[in-house]
């Protein structure tokens, strides 16, 4: 019943793609039934994880899809890259900590915006952030 098998992939190659990714994410969120400030909140979270790719890995991709679980619908955002990876995830998830020129708000901020947030990273291999938010 849900559009869960539809996947939307947005390649992230430059900062301009951040805008594309969050616009597609917002459109999908509305299509999936998110209302009120949720589409904007989802777009903001996508913006932060996409920016993380641009800042640390130069390129990667964002895969957007609808998910259905325990009779609830939601959106799933997977941001992956083959960049250098994160050596200390706990530190990367600390608010205000930044290894580059950012504000250190991106990853912890995205976590606050979404309902579920998972990050896996391997040094030299890349990073994969999976986030979900459920329609209320």
């Amino acid at each position: 019943m849900s559009p869960s098998n539809e996947e939307l992939s947005v390649p992230i190659k430059s900062a301009a793609d951040i805008v594309v990714a969050r616009q597609k994410g917002r459109a999908l969120a509305i299509q999936l039934g998110f209302a009120g400030s949720d589409p904007t909140v989802i777009a903001a979270a996508i913006s932060e994880v996409a920016r993380n790719i641009v800042n640390h890995a130069q390129h990667g991709e964002i895969v957007l899809s609808g998910v259905h679980e325990n009779s609830r619908n939601g959106i799933q955002v997977i941001a992956s890259d083959q960049g250098p990876g994160i050596s200390d995830i706990d530190r990367a998830m600390q608010y205000g900590y930044s290894s580059s020129r950012g504000m250190g708000v991106g990853l912890p901020g995205a976590k606050w915006l979404m309902d579920e947030f998972d990050i896996e990273s391997q040094l030299g291999k890349g990073t994969r952030v999976t986030m979900r938010k459920w329609v209320r």
Binding site: A15, A16, P39, T40, V41, A44, S47, R51, M103, V105
Partner: protein, 150 residues
């Protein structure tokens, strides 16, 4: 997307017309800084009504613009942050601390009128201090209806 910057007396008004990429935001910063010097502007209004998201980068850039312009002797006010955008910013823990904000263009102009008159009233009779105390034009309005009257 290029952001047009209009000169309106002592002020500059930059109205963002579409969603901006990082590069556009940086361009806006440079353009505004340049024009402030050229027109000897005292205040700048940046209208962000159409921005879909103000994320950490946009926040940092806008804050940077305002602080930079302050060093150049001009006040900045950001107007038109949409309710959803503001909500997401709060959830991200982002703030425009130290930067003037106002509901819309009209309130933004009122804010600049208050802010920029301060330093120039040397030989002029002092304006009622209550109006100068306002940090944003909102203060007077939002509070007038409730707790303030006692």
């Amino acid at each position: 997307m290029h952001v047009p910057i209009l000169k309106q007396g002592d002020y500059l008004i930059a109205t963002i017309q579409s969603v901006l990429s990082d590069a556009d935001l940086l361009q806006l910063r440079d353009d505004v800084a340049d024009r402030v010097g050229h027109f000897r502007s005292r205040g700048v209004i940046i209208d962000v009504t159409v921005l879909d998201v103000i994320d950490s980068f946009a926040t940092r850039t806008l804050r940077g613009v305002a602080h930079m312009l302050k060093l150049r002797g001009a006040e900045t006010v950001i107007v038109g942050i949409q309710p959803d955008v503001a909500f997401a910013m709060v959830q991200l823990g982002l703030s425009l601390e130290g930067v003037g904000t106002a509901l819309d263009l009209e309130e933004g102009l009122a804010y600049l009128n208050v802010k920029t008159k301060r330093g120039r009233t040397v030989s002029r009779p002092v304006a009622p201090t209550s109006s100068l105390k306002l940090k944003t034009p909102f203060d007077g309005q939002t509070r007038s209806g409730n707790s303030r009257t006692k």
